[in-house]
Symmetry: C2
Subunit: 370 residues, 2 copies
């Protein structure tokens, strides 16, 4: 069986996959309404919020778009904090919808400095919103959203904090309310142990106020429609019912395990992955508190071609790792360890990596042991 | 087992449902690229087009939005032909994105008159596009897109013809190229025998030219992104992989059966459903060439409460029909017969309907026999 170790879609447990084969129901009937109510209630636990969480049929990028189009207006000044490809994507979306966006970029592999974010806001009182990625999937770096929130609130208490928590929420601790996040977004194929196709979004009262005055044109991603239909147990447009079945069970499993334990499991597998990579003499792109517990970026050793390495892993060892993206192309390979990832999965991936590296002439440095 | 007879999501055959439980693959790897290529090639058969057909992860409404935002600009004059709820939705989307939309409405239960559409265009040479629904799901009426296309081209050969073929394509004959349709849209949960969550869109060269000058803001539904990623075997954003598995098989089954036969099967089951309803002494909202072969609207007999009828069917006979919408609320009930619908499914639904009507005091008129 293929060892799929990319940072989403993640390999799913057989239990949730089995749910996907259930027959259709009326998406405007009572069974769907019951299921949606259960799902929305449990999502609140994992968003750690008292506000409603809405499910949309789309990729993660769809709810990033929803975050922008529901709270901003053309011409709004926006500070887009980017530590990689997905930070850049948030910038691109806001710009596509006519916001006046300024990018505050940090070197790939590093986290955003809360003080630098606060300084940028202090230098320009016109900003209406800050866009930040919680966990940057392209580099394997986790931003400290709580620290960023505190820093920016000290400068401007009313600014909108809009967070892409796509590869973190449901894996790494996230707390929409305690961290005073205004728009929280994530999706199905990361920590929730189901395939892609559903995405989740929650707005604070401050963000709902911004919605009222937002003039960006919207229809499919209009959160007001999601809200009014959810109140009668429906979605505005036909939802991806099969994925709801899977999500319903995935959330039940996560709830049973407990949120703290789900977070602890991801922290443990993150530590384990990094330790196994170091034991091969490999270096991580990120170390310390910002090293991601959902995806690890391993620096490709000098003299090894990243493309060849991934190809050998795929072809000869049925192991799929992810390549670097953007500036990190060719410099790193990434191992996803979100959702249902076991130590055995990581052992097998690292074992395959060791063999493939050996074939490409990589020699473990002297003194490094397992 | 529940007899789900709504006009989408439709009950799916066990074969396609089983595909949905397959494990995830890398959506940026060679297996996905092969599958997407097969799917795109087969979709062209059913769109009857030489142009590429793109798959997006969203509901049908998502590709209706894609049709608008990729071809129009704010202020564009648009004629929106509506014969019901989904015609009205097309109007709403175009208006939400700032087009100057005029509605040409026809009575619920009737089809659009091609001559009236042409007259509206002739009266105002400023129109850039016409929006039309092929099959109006809310009333069970099929418009003659070929006749409408010919009538409008006689007035304005360059006008954009944008068609919602959501509850027709893959069931009722549709021919994007022969009918000179510029934007054709449909989705997964109707004729394609799989659950909702994927939607399909194809643009004519004329529509691609309009895309180049379109200034409506867009990101997730930007068809240019879909095109450039499809060229390298990918989608711009993480796709609903499980539904692609189902679609891959659904299209293979349809291709094997043959497009003509798929269309003939829907025509036969449409005829059969109407005959069975008439045999109970019931009247159809639409008869003749415009009666839909994917969904039939039955007029609720005098003295019978539509809501009660649907509730009894659901609770006591495990049969789910659809209610009327908008102006037709309380006046009709709808039976879906798209995708994998057998005569036995219709027999069971009509049998349940007969029993439920009987309990509500309905008496078959004298002289009506089965």
């Amino acid at each position: 069986m293929q060892n799929l170790r990319i940072p989403g879609p993640t390999a799913c447990p057989p239990e949730t996959l089995a749910e996907l084969s259930r027959q259709m129901i009326n998406h405007r009937g009572p069974e769907f309404a019951d299921m949606q109510a259960r799902i929305m209630e449990r999502l609140k636990l994992f968003f750690r919020t008292q506000n409603e969480v809405y499910v949309m049929t789309c990729s993660g990028t769809g709810v990033m778009e929803a975050a922008i189009v529901n709270t901003l207006s053309p011409g709004d000044r926006v500070l887009s904090v980017s530590i990689g490809e997905f930070g850049d994507r948030f910038f691109d979306i806001a710009e596509a919808y006519g916001a006046a966006v300024t990018k505050l970029a940090f070197e790939p592999g590093t986290a955003a400095d809360p003080k630098a974010v606060a300084n940028a806001l202090a230098a320009d009182p016109g900003y209406k919103a800050v866009l930040v990625t919680h966990n940057e999937t392209s580099s394997g770096v986790t931003n400290d959203i709580n620290a960023i929130s505190k820093a920016i609130r000290a400068v401007n208490p009313d600014i909108l904090l809009i967070v892409d928590a796509i590869s973190s929420l449901g894996c790494i601790p996230f707390a929409a309310d305690a961290w005073d996040v205004d728009v929280s977004t994530t999706c199905s194929q990361k920590g929730f142990m189901i395939p892609p196709g559903l995405a989740f979004i929650s707005l604070s009262p401050r963000a709902w106020k911004a919605y009222e005055s937002s003039t960006i044109q919207k229809y499919y991603f209009d959160i007001g429609k999601a809200k009014s239909y959810a109140e009668r147990g429906q979605t505005p447009f036909t939802p991806a019912v099969s994925l709801y079945y899977g999500l319903d069970l995935g959330l039940e499993m996560m709830d049973k395990e407990g949120m703290e334990q789900v977070n602890a499991r991801h922290a443990a597998i993150g530590d384990y992955t990094r330790a196994k990579a170091r034991a091969l003499g490999l270096k991580m792109l990120a170390e310390g508190p910002h090293a991601s517990n959902t995806v690890s970026s391993i620096l490709v050793p000098e003299g090894v071609n990243a493309g060849e390495l991934l190809k050998i892993l795929n072809t000869d060892y049925d192991t799929v790792l992810a390549s670097g993206q953007g500036k990190l192309t060719g410099k790193i390979v990434r191992i996803g360890h979100m959702g249902m990832t076991s130590r055995e999965d990581i052992d097998a991936a690292i074992d395959a990596l060791e063999k493939a590296l050996d074939r490409l002439g990589y020699k473990k440095p002297a003194g490094v042991g397992a």
